[in-house]
Amino acid sequence: MGLIFRKAKQWSPVLFVLPALLFYVVFLVIPILRTVQFSFYSWDGASPVMQFVGLQNYERLIKDDLFWTSLSHNLFWIASTIILPVFLGLILAVLLSAKGIKGRLVFRVTYFMPAVVSLVAVGIIWNWIYHPDWGVLNEFFRAIGLGRWAQPWLGNESTVLPALIVAGSWTYYGFCMVIFMAAMQGIDQSYYEVATIEGANPVQTFFYVTVPLLKNTITLLVLNSLIGSFKVFDIIYLMTKGGPFHSSEVIATYMFNQAFQMNDVGFGAAISVSLALIICICSVTYMRFAERNE
């Protein structure tokens, strides 16, 4: 009796975790397994029978040009996100941390503001900015005499992806800046004192003191951008739906189309599984790599 009581007491903390675990398993873990299962079947989402097709969906995926095009757009998105908002966030954090800068709070609050706004609103705002006839961007080019640069930014196959990335970065660089600011507050000021005594100029201080000390934070933001760019969906779906002619198609929009518009559930599931695998492999590889360099 006493033993049972002790056992029960030892396990009682599990009760606190149980409700969360229930929801987590039912709405996250089981759906993942079901997606894997779906990916081995051919199913239109409505018929009562699902036909087992083995690896056919994956074979189709590997031969599918659109899948590779979408993936290449994700890779482009990743590279741009690391260069644009992450780097910009770092620069702004460094400038904002410079001695004697006033109004830090106001700058920080406004830089992060686009990140709290619904992406539907962001999409509408940037659709207006890029509007071919009366958008701010084209108006600006016309005003400074570069009217020939004015163009339908979201309608051109060559400009649509960069245009979307700029809109996406607008909601992300403030986040990067906030993270860098927090990390920089933890840096021992004596490093900078030594750099000043050694006669380093601000650029040298940035590259030889700040960047190496922020390595962990940079790793974290690169990882975050990597995962975020692989799963990017909302802003593209809202602004171009992957068009024109798939020139802004990414894996998530492609999967959405296949699974929910074409009702090719099995194939959509195969895309989902591939996306999840790519994200897991990239995250783990990158973390390993970052750890080794420490």
Partner: protein, 280 residues
């Protein structure tokens, strides 16, 4: 010589401010522009899209709120957000307390099992979730926007909650034991009140995510009566494409409340993102 250096320092500082202010405007002007456009008369907006309004009018906003049903979407967003955020906080605080302050066999393994969910993109569960909702007859209900998110948000929410509880001193648990508290009473009467300030930062984040959630409502709700603000706004802006001041009003209705929440709780927002990342 000294004067020269001083002038250079002043020029440098001027440049720094110029860059900082340029990006401040880049961040805030598009939002300000939308709100200004919402307050302008339609003819005024079409003639001078970038000027300040010659006369402020609330007609567009009222029309978007009533005829455009933005008012209904606004209420729907609240109906979804309140139970959803509350549910997440209850589940995650219980689990976070156990992970952060109690000891039990398999604790760390279970915690990593939860963390695993952070790496998985929503796309990997959305297809079966959709058919789950269909089978449970929850398509076109508020429940479809609430229940799945209780599971989907657990990895991040528990990760944060565990950090909050772990930061409390262990002596508190000893003291609670002496006062003959059990795990649950210690949680309710001692630990929970102490982490409340920290929980606020998770609360504002979960509220923002619920308010702005797009994918779940896109798939789970197509009846206009249950749409939340983002989806309502999407269809609304598609319907009134040519009426710019009305669309701007819709955007303003969706955006201004969350910006106000953000400004009021900005410290909590910043604490939230930095706690979730820098602490690790």
């Amino acid at each position: 010589m000294g004067e020269k250096i001083e002038i250079r320092a002043m020029v440098n500082r001027g440049l720094v401010y110029a860059v900082l202010v340029a990006f401040l405007l880049l961040s805030v002007m598009p939002l300000v522009w939308m709100v200004v456009a919402a307050l302008k008369e339609t003819s005024d907006l079409n003639q001078n899209p970038f000027s300040f309004p010659s006369r402020i009018t609330f007609e567009n906003i009222i029309e978007a709120w009533t005829v455009g049903k933005m008012g209904k979407y606004f209420v729907n967003s609240l109906i979804v957000a309140i139970p959803r955020v509350f549910g997440i906080l209850v589940l995650a605080s219980l689990a976070g307390y156990a992970f952060g302050k109690l000891k039990f066999p398999g604790r760390d393994a279970l915690f990593y099992f939860f963390l695993f969910g952070m790496m998985i993109p929503i796309q990997a569960m959305i297809i079966p979730l959709y058919y789950n909702m269909q089978n449970m007859n929850l398509i076109n209900t508020y429940w479809a926007l609430i229940i799945p998110s209780l599971g989907l948000s657990m990895p991040f929410a528990i990760f944060m909650m565990r950090a909050f509880f772990r930061d409390l001193p262990d002596e508190l648990m000893e003291a609670a034991k002496i006062d003959s508290c059990n795990h649950f009473t210690a949680f309710i009467y001692i630990m929970l009140p102490l982490v409340l300030p920290a929980i606020t930062s998770l609360l504002v984040f979960e509220f923002m995510w619920s308010w702005n959630d797009f994918l779940l409502p896109l798939l789970f709700v197509y009846d206009d009566n249950y749409r939340t603000l983002p989806l309502g706004l999407m269809y609304f802006s598609g319907e009134y494409t040519t009426d710019h001041s009305l669309v701007a009003s819709g955007v303003a209705i969706a955006v201004v409340p969350i910006i106000l929440v953000y400004i009021l709780f900005q410290r909590k927002f910043i604490e939230g993102i930095t706690a979730g990342s820098v602490k690790g």
